[in-house]
Amino acid sequence: MRILIVEDDQEASVVMARGLTESGHDCVTAPDGAYGLEEAHKGGFDVYVVDRMMPRLDGVGMVETLRREGDQTPVLFLSALGEVEDRVTGLKAGGDDYLVKPYAFPELIARVEALARRRETGSVQTVLKVGDLEMNLISREVTRAGRDIDLQPREFQLLEFLMRHAGQSVTRTMLLEKVWEYHFDPQTNVIDVHISRLRSKIDKGFDRAVLQTVRGAGYRLEA
């Protein structure tokens, strides 16, 4: 994936670019919104990672301009402003996701990859498949190797999200945000418990576990 990093903090920018390059992505960096806009106009990016507060043109201004020009490339906002209204402003300006600084690196990578993936699977799907796991979004039936798996509604949503992001790490925060639609920080491992319940339904009795724990990051569904 080609990623444009627009961030005025030189060091943060370098670390981010290095980390993303290590995970196999191409990175281009820009030191502020105006340069960011120039780079973006060259095209060919899968995701923009944009800091909100920058000299010259700030992140919100840059993304608003891009959206006006019809550029629909997914945007992940980075911000030291973590309050609810800041998040709302960012998303209203055309951001697709919002990550508050400081963040854990796996969280950034997971979100960037999720954004890029969302773009790829833009077409409407009715059946999701990951290895021998199948989910029918119409009949809401889940089978693994032909065996019916009975899921609670929330477990179904959780699995759907994991399947849509198969092969990628998804963090606990992402799951709480995207599956439960809450933006807060649970102190205990509530998400882990839900995952372990789901795991006991889809992996129990099979040789290979599809739902894997990624240390320091979260979970990943592997075919």
Binding site: Y182, F184, V193
Partner: protein, 466 residues
């Protein structure tokens, strides 16, 4: 030249301005009175003279010059303010109480004139008194002059204007004195306000304006300033407290992390380990520190905010149901009996994310501190007062009465909770969320000891209705 300070002050300047306006208005009024009175006196004198003149000409017309002569002699002997003089056709005086006519020109028609009359006043001094008169030629060619001494009314006018100017002077002096007094009063009050502002600027937040409860605006301003200073002092204290607490709470994990990294470095240098585990643990600790830091920041921002951030009206019951669904597996995992009792239709105005966090913190605490085999109950209901109450009740060890106030404070953790993970910020955040919503946090004893467990704890988060 610099004026003495009082003259440069706003209240005094306003007083002067007011006085100037007042003086202008008073002068205009006085001039009007003066000229109007003068005109009135002249009109009256003219009417008097005309009356006399028509009576005399009537006598002349009907009974001839001798009768007029006799009449004039009669009138002058009676005295009065009138002046008469009958002259022959050449202007030589014949009869009258003046020696010569003040009107020298012997016109054929009526001729009016104002003039001065020399005479002696009551004390024998020579005085020139104002007079006016008319002179005309009678049918027989004789000249008749009739005048009136208007010295009395002119003197009255002069006296009147003198009084009026005197009064104006007194008013001006009183106004000036009053202005000085008022400006001193106002300046004193403003000076007290200024003194407080100065010392606050110099860093002394303890200063307050003396308030006399007189209910005037300056007193009110002082009261408002005091209230503002109280609020600022309070937030400063709370910021300072938070700062101290953060410093205190972050120091030990930072020290620990540093030590661990140092040891890892030594070990790595010696080739004993590759240090990866130490790095991973340091990373975990850094994450933990960031979490603490963010929570403290959220609390501080909520406490500083003036209104609910990004408010919306929503059903508190849905939120409770979501939280119950989210936490139930975690509770059951810990072998706790988890139950939720949620009434429908509980509209509240609030910030959904913060309320979710608050409710999550309460459920989290209950699960954390209740030993296996116990129970946790989440309720959402409308109280008879109309308020919406979330409550989380557990059968854990509870919190002694004496500590209930304390556990809401930042970083306060009771001794028997130290073994559990946590930062002692959960309830502080709930409290801050409750306050910004205009609600409150109620801590009470739980349902009582069950099967050897503690008395339990019931925490209520009460919100005003939408």
């Amino acid at each position: 030249m610099r004026l003495p300070s009082v003259f440069r002050r706003t209240p005094f300047r306003l007083t002067l301005l007011f006085l100037a306006l007042f003086a202008a208005a008073a002068s205009a009024l006085l001039l009007y009175i003066y000229f109007a009175s003068r005109a009135e006196a002249a009109t009256r004198a003219e009417a008097d003279i005309r009356r006399e003149l028509s009576a005399l000409t009537a006598i002349y017309r009907e009974r001839g010059v001798d009768a007029l002569n006799a009449e004039l002699i009669d009138r002058t002997s009676k005295g009065g303010p009138y002046l008469f003089l009958l002259m022959d056709a050449q202007g030589r005086p014949q009869t009258g109480n003046i020696n010569e006519s003040p009107i020298v020109e012997h016109a054929e028609s009526e001729r009016w004139e104002k003039f001065r009359l020399s005479g002696a006043d009551a004390r024998g001094r020579v005085a020139r008194r104002a007079a006016m008169g008319v002179q005309l030629r009678l049918q027989g060619g004789e000249l008749l002059f009739v005048g009136e001494d208007i010295g009395e009314s002119e003197a009255y006018l002069n006296r009147l204007s003198l009084f009026l100017w005197g009064a104006a002077g007194i008013v001006f002096l009183l106004g000036l004195g009053g202005g000085l007094f008022v400006s001193r009063q106002v300046e004193g009050a403003l000076g007290r306000l200024n003194a407080v502002v100065d010392s606050v600027q110099a860093g002394d937040l303890k200063q307050r304006v003396p308030v006399r409860n007189t209910g005037d605006e300056l007193d009110e301003l002082g009261g408002n300033m005091n209230a503002m200073l109280d609020r600022i002092e309070q937030s400063m204290a709370s910021i300072r407290h938070a700062g101290d607490a953060i410093a205190h709470d972050l120091r030990s994990p930072l020290t620990r992390m540093r030590a661990r990294l140092e040891v890892a470095l030594i070990d790595a240098d010696a080739g004993r380990v590759d240090g990866r585990e130490a790095l991973a643990r340091a990373l975990d600790e850094a994450d933990d520190l960031l979490k603490t830091f963010n929570t403290v920041l959220s609390i501080a921002r909520l406490q500083a905010a003036s209104d609910i951030p990004d408010p919306a009206v929503f059903d508190a019951a849905d939120l409770a149901a979501d939280m119950a669904e989210l936490y139930e597996p975690a509770a059951e995992d810990k072998l706790l009996d988890f139950a939720a009792q949620i009434e429908r239709g509980l509209e509240v105005r609030g910030n959904r994310a913060f309320l979710a966090q608050a409710l999550a913190n309460l459920i989290d605490n209950a699960i954390k501190y209740t030993p296996a085999g116990g129970a946790v109950m989440l309720r959402a209901r409308r109280r008879s007062s109309g308020e919406v109450e979330y409550s989380v009740t557990d059968t854990g060890p509870g919190v002694p009465d004496a500590d209930r106030e304390r556990i809401v404070e930042r970083f306060v953790r009771l001794d028997n909770s130290r073994s559990e993970a946590g930062h002692g910020l959960g309830l502080s955040l709930v409290q801050a969320v409750a306050e910004i919503h205009g609600g409150r946090l109620d801590l009470a004893e739980g349902p009582g000891a069950v099967d050897g467990s503690g008395p339990g704890l019931r925490v209520g988060l009460v919100l005003p209705p939408a």
